[in-house]
């Protein structure tokens, strides 16, 4: 397969250039002095003035703080529900309604956001009419909506992690008399911890990123960061958004690299333990 080496190199070069040039150009222009986002003012650049402008913008900072809170609540809720759903689908064997549950957990993965947003808003309006809850829309309704679509991702991550292990350890613990809750906390949970951590981060990102569903279910005074950015960039490009994007890309890049390193460390430790266990068997 040496003959098509040049082709593979070209495919990777073109593909990654396509993926990264826009992000890099955004980062570069965040240090540009000119008000015109696309003209490089070589004399006075690089400058940090857009970053200063960004940190003086109360509206953006407030929205960012709100988004962080919603994303943290969403990630925690989605991890709890998604882990349970993944566990049920991977371990509980056949039960009545399993097909429906499995369908309900994969459908939000591909459901167009406008449909999810519209249907949840109509649900909240109907519920408010019927039982008076939730009164009005705001942080609570946004969080519920985000948990609903984020838990689908967590479910898939946890389920596929569980499918990678057979249940002999859990069976053994049950046979030795451990209660199911005990089995879960001392055996299953440590095994799927990497999946739970990446599920939490994924849910956090999905919530932090969402604009369409939030627009449907948000109320007055609960504008998340993406909603503020969206209304800002709809009117045209603005350099402080470039600065914001740069900060976010940096945080994410650091986070992804760190979590990849941590996951590799965990994986290695597990393999070493497995090897030692096998050596002890002999």
């Amino acid at each position: 397969m040496k003959s098509n080496g040049w082709f593979r190199g070209l495919a990777l070069l073109v593909g990654f250039a396509f993926l990264y040039v826009p992000i890099l150009s955004m980062i570069a222009f965040s240090f540009n002095n000119s008000r015109l986002v696309t003209v490089w003012d070589a004399a006075n650049s690089p400058t940090l003035k857009w970053y200063r402008l960004l940190f003086d913008n109360e509206q953006i900072l407030g929205a960012a703080w709100l988004s962080i809170q919603i994303a943290a609540m969403t990630a925690t809720g989605a991890v709890v529900l998604g882990t349970i759903a993944g566990l049920v689908l991977a371990r509980f064997g056949p039960f009545r309604g399993r097909a429906l549950l499995s369908g309900l957990t994969t459908a939000p993965l591909v459901m167009p956001e406008v449909i999810t947003g519209l249907s949840l808003l109509l649900l909240f309006v109907s519920l408010e009419q019927l039982i008076g809850w939730p009164s009005g829309r705001g942080v609570l309704t946004i969080t519920i909506a985000h948990i609903t679509f984020a838990m689908a991702y967590v479910t898939v991550v946890v389920q596929s992690r569980l499918a990678g292990f057979d249940d002999s350890l859990e069976e053994a613990a049950l046979d030795l008399g451990a209660r199911p809750a005990r089995v879960f906390f001392s055996i299953t949970l440590p095994l799927i911890l990497p999946a739970i951590v990446s599920g939490w981060l994924l849910a956090f990102t999905l919530s932090w990123d969402d604009v369409v569903i939030s627009q449907f279910v948000a109320g007055p005074g609960s504008s998340t960061l993406p909603m503020v950015i969206f209304s800002k960039v709809r009117l045209g490009v603005s350099p402080d958004v470039n600065a914001l994007a740069t900060i976010m890309v940096m945080i994410v890049a650091a986070g992804v690299v760190l979590s990849a390193l941590w996951m590799r460390h965990q994986e290695r430790r597990r393999e070493r333990e497995m090897r030692m266990a096998r050596a002890a068997e002999k």
């Binding site: 992000i23 955004m26 349970i84 689908l89 459908a107 167009p112 649900l123 604009v211 976010m248």
Partner: protein, 334 residues
């Protein structure tokens, strides 16, 4: 020494009025009752119930409400639609007002028909471009050495973790009339006047391909990685050229990956809202935008609901195909 009162559940159950009955059940109940109760009764039912109830309430019921409202008539009130079921006290009967006007309106109004066709066209073309860009990348990653493979994969996934909105916004700066691409081409002397790239179909294709490329690459990679390379060696030994070997071995084997990746791009692309709003034409909207305008600007909830149901009908076959793939994929890992 006084023993602490026995508060365990079996004790409490067996001291009530039905105590003897419960004791009898516990002794002569189903075989291996303790294991049975532990795994089949309270715990597992409760555990199943939690995500089930959540998804029923916040995912399934909302669709039924959308479905219901799509048959209502619009009226000036809050909420702005007429009730479908009306209990008339005097007549002692339930009056069901079931009208199909919203759907007839969608079918007869040229705006909606062309919006649907346009959305499907944009999604299909974007999916095709995504496949043409993503397949070679997935192939190249799957055939690299295992050590470097993870680095490539991380680089594919990394943009997915950064804000989707900001990544689409980055293209505004690139594609504008005085944007980076036009300035570059003008500077190189390749064009004399700026090309209009932004607010075109082209810009929407670029935005969708750019945003959804990881969704195409990952299923393709996980398929291509599993291929048995000795098949290709055998083909080469028998005299097949690489192109022939690719067309008759690799391509057919990677069909499940192609289908999964295409569905993951096509389905959300049909309902895409942000990308066409920032990069697309203003004279031709996509369904997602029309639905949102119908709801927020016209306050016509029934028609917005009918648009949502029509979109779902359009996507129901792709969604079911995807679910079948997802189920097979998760079960194959066992």
């Amino acid at each position: 020494m006084a023993r602490p009162p026995d508060n365990s559940l079996p004790h409490r159950l067996s001291t009530g009025r039905f105590g003897p009955l419960i004791l009898l059940f516990m002794r002569y109940g189903p075989p291996r009752w303790s294991r049975y109760i532990r795994s089949q009764w309270t715990g597992s039912r409760l555990v199943i119930a939690v995500p089930y109830l959540w998804l029923l309430l916040f995912f399934l019921v909302p669709f039924l409400i959308v479905f219901k409202i799509s048959f209502s008539e619009v009226q000036v009130a809050m909420p702005p639609y007429a009730p479908l079921f009306d209990w008339v006290e005097d007549a002692r009967r339930l009056i069901v007002t079931f009208n199909l006007n919203n759907y007839l309106f969608l079918l007869t109004d040229d705006l909606y028909v062309s919006t649907f066709l346009y959305s499907v066209k944009v999604a299909a073309i974007s999916t095709l471009i995504c496949l043409l860009v993503g397949y070679p990348m997935a192939y190249a990653i799957a055939r690299s050495s295992p050590a470097i493979r993870n680095v490539w994969l991380m680089l594919v996934i990394l943009p997915f973790w950064t804000s989707f909105l900001l990544r689409v916004y980055a293209w505004v700066g690139l594609l504008k009339n005085d944007g980076v691409i036009n300035n570059l081409l003008l500077g190189l002397g390749l064009i004399d006047e700026p090309m209009s790239l932004l607010y075109t179909d082209f810009a929407v294709y670029v935005g969708i391909v750019y945003s959804y490329l990881p969704f195409m690459i990952l299923p393709l990679y996980s398929n291509l990685e599993k291929h048995d390379l000795t098949l290709l060696e055998a083909a080469a030994d028998l005299g097949a050229r690489p192109v022939r070997a690719f067309l008759s071995i690799t391509l057919p084997l990677s069909m499940p990956g192609i289908i999964a990746g295409s569905l993951l791009v096509f389905i959300p692309a049909v309902g895409e809202y942000v990308i066409p709003s920032l990069l697309g034409r203003s004279d031709q909207l996509m369904i997602g935008r029309v639905l949102s305008d119908e709801f927020f600007s016209n306050r016509d909830w029934p028609v917005a609901s009918a648009v949502a149901i029509a979109m779902l009908l359009l996507l129901v076959i792709p969604i079911m195909l995807f679910q079948r793939y997802q189920k097979r994929e998760l079960e194959a890992r066992k």
